[in-house]
């Protein structure tokens, strides 16, 4: 009965403020759409220029093939020399033919086409290098007869055959936004009571500790669940993100995560005195958790110590799980393994949260 009243107070407090209401209900969906559409790691528009004599067939051929693919675009202005073209930012990559034409130089087996790449953007430099090399390889005149027939590799992209970027980024964005809401709101709402001094009033009221924590967390759990639901709908509707696993598994995993994030929020709130501190703490933790979660960067490439952190990072667990359920259909053993890890972290956090809560009382 008391708990019910407490929860009602929290919900009213959250939705009463129009800005906060907006931040909680509409902003996440807007962000999901914005980032879902904008963030892609598909390489395109690498501006390519060529410095060769027009009759140098091979270089021109590579250039034409490159432009025909969707990755490269021609430069707007041809500069006098190749280094200038890159220094001025006019071109990202430049093909420079050896003097006298490549066809002849290649015959003498002494010269190569040079590819100059602006490597201040590593991602684009890598892409330009890989693509142009493979184009050059396919166009290379076969000198002597190779003793073997060609070795062909047929590649099949599983789960995401069209290599849509949003399929990779959306699960990450979803779990990030959820954390923003659930953890940050819980923590700041307790910090707010502390800052204003109303926290003493709640403590002195005849409510049990468990009820205080439940009352403080259930409203934000509802906010979280609502947002998971909306985010899933939006990604299915706007980005046709597949849901290959079961909805039940997805729901269960999300509940586990909401619970863990709530407990993290409560635990953190016991360390802060006011809202500003709460915001900074939250931010710090969130940022580190996000970085090491595989939301945007694959965890596989990280050095070992950082990878170990990701094994206890709930945000990483959730991101892995969401991706696995949505895209791969959710392998049962994998789900068990990671959701128990997630819940385990949640229980540990809850244990400390309750203990610290008593002390801070």
């Amino acid at each position: 009965m008391i708990l019910k009243g407490f929860i009602r107070k929290e919900i009213i407090q959250t939705l009463r403020d129009p800005h906060l209401g907006m931040a909680v209900i509409i902003m996440p969906v807007l962000q999901l759409l914005l980032f879902g559409y904008a963030l892609t790691n598909e390489v395109k528009n690498i501006r390519l220029d060529v410095y060769a004599e027009p009759r140098d067939v091979l270089v021109q051929n590579i250039y034409d093939h490159a432009l025909a693919s969707r990755w490269f675009a021609p430069v707007k202005k041809h500069k006098a020399n190749p280094i200038d073209a890159i220094q001025s930012g006019e071109a990202d990559a430049v093909l420079v033919a050896p003097p006298g034409g490549l066809t002849r130089a290649a015959g003498r087996n002494e010269e190569k086409i040079q590819l100059l790449v602006n490597a201040s953007d590593v991602l684009r430099a890598q892409a330009a290098d890989i693509y142009l090399k493979s184009i050059a390889q396919s166009l290379e005149p076969k000198g002597e007869k190779t003793p073997h027939a060609p070795l062909s590799v047929s590649v099949r992209m599983l789960y995401n055959p069209s290599m849509t970027s949003s399929t990779f980024t959306l699960p990450g964005i979803m779990s990030m936004l959820l954390t923003f809401l659930v953890m940050v709101l819980t923590c700041t709402s307790i910090a707010k009571e502390k800052e204003r001094g109303t926290f003493e009033m709640i403590i002195s009221a005849p409510i049990r500790r468990t009820d205080i924590i439940l009352g403080k967390t259930i409203p934000f759990a509802l906010v979280g669940v609502w947002n998971v639901f909306i985010a899933l709908m939006a990604s299915r509707f706007f980005f046709s993100l597949p849901l290959r696993g079961s909805l039940v598994a997805f729901g269960f995993v999300s509940l586990c995560y909401v619970y863990t994030a709530l407990m993290a929020g409560v635990l953190m709130s016991t360390f802060v005195k006011n809202q500003q501190q709460s915001m900074m703490c939250n931010f710090m933790i969130l940022f580190i958790a996000m970085m090491l979660s595989g939301c945007f960067f694959s965890v596989d490439n990280m050095p070992l110590p950082l990878r170990l952190i990701s094994y206890v990072n709930p945000l990483a667990h959730y991101t892995f799980l969401v991706r696995n359920i949505l895209l791969k259909g959710g392998d049962f053993m994998y789900l068990i393994q990671y959701s128990s890890a997630l819940l385990g972290v949640g229980i540990v956090l809850a244990f400390f949260a309750f203990r610290r809560f008593r002390i801070s009382l």
Partner: protein, 371 residues
């Protein structure tokens, strides 16, 4: 329009606020260091040792040559599995990222002047590393053929020789750490200022401030400058770490870097103040600061996701975020070293944003005063 004495008074008051609260001070000095250390080591775009499983149904000399070539490259870490079915299960459990199937009679076909066909299944859920994998496979394919033919000809590595300008080893750190200054600044300044005014409203000290004869401009400047100072100190720390610990070169001119940094800081501090004046509830201010300030400065600035890859419409949107222009300048000054003239557009845009931020701040603040 600006009375120096009153501005200094506000400035002093704000400095005291900062010094009295060691939490803020420590946070603003420690956070940049933690972030740089973390980012510098965590982000690696060069895909390496991808866990890959293979099914060899041929068991021939040729298939072994291929697998040896694959395994000795630094890109793949290969493990045998019994069947394709099991391999798929490895991928489903995220234990492998790709599977290579060598069909029976692979050697027979390859030697018999027919096509030797390999099947490769790549986990497409992470499409950036997926793309890279396909690229590496092409290189390995060519190398295997060479190893097979055992010709005395020196291995031809293709007709193309690449020179990577400005970052010869394609180090991911050189790419991320300079741009990180932008993210650190954006976050720090928004976090620091987003609450200064809403806190005054909630604590009721705003009425006091309003009853004094200070002008909006004086409040805004007085509140901004201490945090700008704090911000400059942390940029300096980041700069030192980048140069010494990571050995990143700085080719450009320092004055461009610092002028841009100052403008960028003022813009973001202004944005934080603006959020703070418009939204009087601290909790909502926090959510807005996180969502308007932090996310776009990370994701729309070209820091991780290259702007050139975005759809044209969104490329236009990124122009509205000062972080994008600042990242351009910083990255350029560290690695490329263009002149101020070549960077005219980004510098000019930053300048416009700075003026706009300060103007908007004083204006909304004035409106606030009158209401």
């Amino acid at each position: 329009m600006v009375n120096q004495r009153r501005t200094v008074a506000i400035f002093n008051k704000e400095i005291r606020h900062i010094l009295r609260d060691p939490f803020t001070l420590i946070f603003s000095l420690v956070m940049p260091v933690v972030m740089v250390l973390l980012f510098g080591t965590a982000i690696e775009f060069n895909v390496r040792e991808v866990p890959t499983v293979y099914v060899d149904q041929d068991h021939s000399q040729t298939s072994r040559t291929f697998l040896n070539t694959l395994g000795s490259s630094q890109y793949f870490k290969i493990t045998p599995v019994a069947s394709a079915h099991e391999g798929i299960r490895w991928i489903e459990r995220e234990r492998a990222r790709a599977m290579i199937i060598i069909p029976p009679q692979f050697e027979h076909f390859l030697l018999g002047a027919q096509e030797g066909k390999l099947q490769v299944l790549v986990d497409g859920t992470d499409n950036s590393s997926g793309n890279a994998l396909v690229g590496y496979l092409g290189a390995i394919q060519a190398k295997t053929l060479q190893n097979l033919s055992k010709s005395d000809h020196p291995a031809s590595e293709g007709a193309l020789k690449t020179r990577f300008l400005y970052n010869p080893e394609l180090s991911s750190r050189w790419f991320t750490v300079p741009a990180l200054t932008a993210v650190v600044m954006a976050i720090l300044s928004i976090l620091l200022t987003a609450l200064t005014i809403s806190r005054e409203w909630e604590n009721g000290s705003m009425e006091l401030l309003l009853s004094t004869p200070v002008r909006p401009m004086e409040v805004v400047l007085g509140k901004m400058l201490p945090y700008a100072l704090l911000g400059l100190i942390s940029v300096f720390v980041v700069y030192i770490i980048a140069r010494t610990l990571y050995g990143i070169p700085f080719i450009g001119q320092l004055w461009i870097f610092w002028v841009a940094t100052l403008m960028f800081l003022l813009t973001y501090l202004g944005q934080g103040l603006l959020i703070s004046t418009l939204i009087r509830n601290q909790q909502a201010a926090i959510q807005f600061a996180l969502m308007i300030g932090m996310m776009p400065s990370m994701l729309f600035s070209g820091f991780i996701f290259p702007i050139e890859h975005m759809p044209t419409f969104f490329q236009g949107i990124t122009a509205c975020f000062p972080a994008r222009w600042y990242v351009t300048i910083v990255r350029d000054q560290f690695l490329k070293g263009s002149s101020a003239l070549e960077l005219f557009l980004p510098l000019f845009m930053l300048f416009v944003f700075t003026c706009m931020a300060i103007r908007l701040c004083t204006k909304t603040f004035k409106g606030n005063l009158e209401s």
